[in-house]
Structures are given as C-alpha cells and as structure tokens.
C-alpha cells in the first residue's frame, strides 16, 4: 500500500481523482459517497424556521451608529514632541543669553543671523563678562574708598570730641571731601565704637587723618547734626550705597 502524500489528499478532497485509480480510487469513492450521504438541503420547514430566526436576529440587531473615531496621538510621539519643545525653548534661552557652549553658540548665532537675529557669539559673551567684571571692580573700589573716607571722618570727629582739640579756623572751612563741613558726609551709618563713650578712643592714632584736616561739626558754630550723645544720624543715605 503506497503512502499517501499531502498532494494525494488535496486531490481526494477536491474530487479530482479518478475513481478507477488503483491507489486512490476507493478513497475517492468514499469521499464522494460521504458527501452525497449527508450533504443535502434542509427540508422546507427547517429552512423557513432558520430564515425566520435570521430575520429575527437582524431585527434585534442594534442600528449601526456612525463610528466616531477619536484621533489618538501615540504616547511616544506626544512625549517626543514635548521633549523637543522643551529642548527648543531651553536652547533658545541659552543661545539668547550667550550661555551655550562655544561651538554651539557660534553655530546658532551664525544660523539665526541669516534671518536678521543677532545673538552673542562666544567672543561677545567673553567681552560682556569682562566688562561686567570691570564695572563691578570699579564700583567696589569706589565704594571701598568712600567707606574708608567715611570711617576716617567719623574716627576723626569722635577723636576730637573725646580729646577736645583746640579749634582751629581752618577746621571750619569746607574741604574737597567735605564741602559742607559735614562730618559723615552722608556715606553711611557711623561705625560702632567711635562715639564719645568709646573707651580708648583718645584721638591718638585712630585713623590716618589728623585733627584739623576736616571741620568738626561737634564744635561747629553753625550747629551740627551731632546728637547730644555724640552720634551722627548719617543723613539716612549710607545704607543705600552698598
């Protein structure tokens, strides 16, 4: 008995085998007879019952509604878009302020220069920083100088107040640093420990200046801003200079 191949089976089931075929004829007859024995249309009553059931099922079927499809944005795509937006905004801010790394700043500045936007290049940013440092240094120097002068003036004033130096005429004349003869020159609050009650403040070696370089409002005949306890109100401007 020959072994059946898949092709033989396909031929058998598609009814393409001659029933006189010595190898497959019997099987071909079996397939045909099996079909004929059981395959037949249902009787009229059964068919009518089935068609009625189909009609009932159709009637019970819900009306097809127009499908409203929500447009879904994939999560990955939305996240990528958000990330790209964030990078763009942050990058623009860094580029506008000249804080991108040198090559990137150069590239972005060159790119946007074509559309008329000027961004600082790395060299521009360096210059700007140097300028800013210079301004800060100058301001610091000036303020330190003012403060030193202020300390000198106050120290001298209190030294003279404690020691009671002999008034001199030239002490009442305005000087370059004190045109109004004001002791504190409005540079800030009086440093602590320089008042008349400060111990050891005897006017000797308490500051670079010497008595007589500046007028001493405590002894000024025009009246002076010293209070009765020897402190100075400072004209209320000093704290604003720092």
């Amino acid at each position: 008995m020959e072994k059946l191949t898949p092709d033989d089976a396909d031929r058998l089931f598609s009814s393409t085998v001659d029933e006189n075929d010595p190898a497959l004829g019997a099987l071909s007859s079996f397939v045909r007879e099996a079909r004929e024995a059981y395959t037949r249309a249902p009787d009229a009553a059964t068919q009518a019952r089935h068609l009625r059931a189909i009609a009932d099922e159709l009637a019970a079927r819900p009306e097809p509604r127009p499908v409203r499809r929500r447009r879904r944005v994939p999560i990955g795509r939305a996240a990528a878009a958000a990330l790209a937006g964030s990078i763009l905004v942050a990058g623009s801010a860094l580029a506008a302020t000249g804080h991108l790394p040198g090559p990137a700043q150069d590239a972005v500045a060159g790119l946007v220069s074509h559309v008329g936007v000027t961004l600082p290049t790395p060299s521009d940013a360096g210059k700007a920083r140097a300028e800013a440092n210079k301004r800060r240094a100058e301001l610091f120097t000036k303020m330190k100088k003012d403060w030193t002068q202020c300390v000198e003036q106050n120290a001298r004033t209190h030294t003279e107040a404690v020691c009671g130096p002999k008034p001199k005429a030239q002490d009442f004349q305005p000087s370059r640093n004190n045109p109004a003869g004001h002791p504190n020159h409005g540079k800030g609050p009086q440093p602590a420990g320089v008042g008349p009650s400060s111990a050891g403040n005897n006017g000797e070696g308490n500051g670079p200046g010497k008595s007589g370089d500046h007028p001493t409002p405590a002894a000024s005949p025009h009246g002076n801003p010293h209070t009765s306890d020897g402190t100075s109100p400072g004209h209320g401007q000093g704290s604003g200079r720092h």
Binding site: A9, F13, L27, R40, H50, L51, L58
Partner: protein
C-alpha cells in the same frame, strides 16, 4: 474541478456580503442556501444530536458577527465552518453535562428519506457503513477529515480551526485516510 454538492455564490459574493451586512433578507437567503447543505452534512457526519439546531445557531451568530469578517467567498466558507465546529463542540459538551434521553441521531433518521431527496441513490446501509468508518477514526482524525470533506477547508484553515500546526494536521489527515483505506480494503475482501 468543483464538487457537485457545493453551491457557489461566485462573482457576486462581495455584493451579497455587503447586502447581508446591511441586513438584506435576500442576501441572507443566498448565503443560507449556499452554505446550509454542506454545513448540515458536516454536522450530520460528525454525529451532531441536533444538526438543524446547531445550523440555526450558527446562522444567528453569523448575523451578529458578520461585520467582523473580511475576505472572499472561500474565506467566508472556512470562517462559517470553523464557527460551526466550535458550536458543535459546545453543544456536545453541554449535552454531556446535562444528558437528555437517548435519541436516534437526526443524521440517521434523515437518511431514511435520502434516496428521495434530490435524486440521490444512497441506501441506508451504505450510509451506515460510511458512518461506521468515520466513527472508527480518532476524534482529531475525524475533525480533520470531515472539515476537509464537507467544509473544503485547506490544511492551514483546519489547523487554525482545531488549534494544531499544519504539519500535525497533515499527519492526522494521512493517518485518517490510511485508516479509511484499510477499512475499505477489509470491506472489499469480505
């Protein structure tokens, strides 16, 4: 060659399918007439206790699910037979859980009139012999051969229907056919 028992809708199948989806009675009648005979043949040969009932259930399920089908007439036929196969298994399972009074399977009851319907000349004895041969097959062999004979499913379609690989289906098919051939040879020798 197309087997004589098979009713084919043909080129109009796409239009019929579309009309059936829309709920046209005439389209359902065409689908029913093209499929019901082979479907009932499969169910009878498979020994369904109530082939007409299962057939009706299959068409009702078709009405509900037809919007999900995409394909040609051959694919539709395969889809319907897979549905019928599963419906039959459900029916057999349910009957095992709740056994009813033993009754002569409708397949054999109908065979008494088979010779009078559509001019077929198959006597009851021959039909019983065929049925006896089918019953001797293992259940998987029976599933494969009957789906191929009545549903005309391909090996791949049968594999999908019974949840096996195509290679396994080919092996079951070969063993089943060889068993039938041996049985037929014994019958001849007798």
């Amino acid at each position: 060659m197309t087997s004589s028992h098979r009713v084919v809708v043909g080129e109009q199948f796409a239009n019929v399918l579309e009309a059936a989806r829309a709920g046209a009675d005439w389209a359902w009648k065409i689908l029913y007439e093209s499929l019901a005979p082979a479907l009932l043949g499969y169910l009878r040969a498979r020994g369904a206790p109530d082939p007409d009932g299962v057939c009706g259930d299959v068409f009702c399920q078709l009405v509900r699910d037809i919007h999900r089908f995409e394909g040609d007439e051959s694919g539709f036929r395969s889809w319907v037979f897979v549905m019928a196969h599963h419906r039959l298994l459900d029916d057999l399972r349910r009957r095992r859980r709740r056994p009813e009074s033993a009754a002569e399977p409708e397949a054999f009851a109908d065979l008494a009139d088979a010779a009078d319907v559509e001019g077929r000349v198959v006597d009851r004895r021959r039909a019983e012999e065929i049925r006896a041969i089918i019953e001797e097959l293992t259940p998987p062999q029976r599933d494969v051969l009957l789906l191929r004979i009545y549903g005309e499913l391909s090996v791949e379609e049968v594999a999908a229907a019974i949840g096996r690989r195509p290679g396994a289906v080919k092996a079951l098919q070969r063993r089943g056919l060889e068993a039938v051939r041996r049985r037929l040879g014994e019958g001849v020798s007798e």
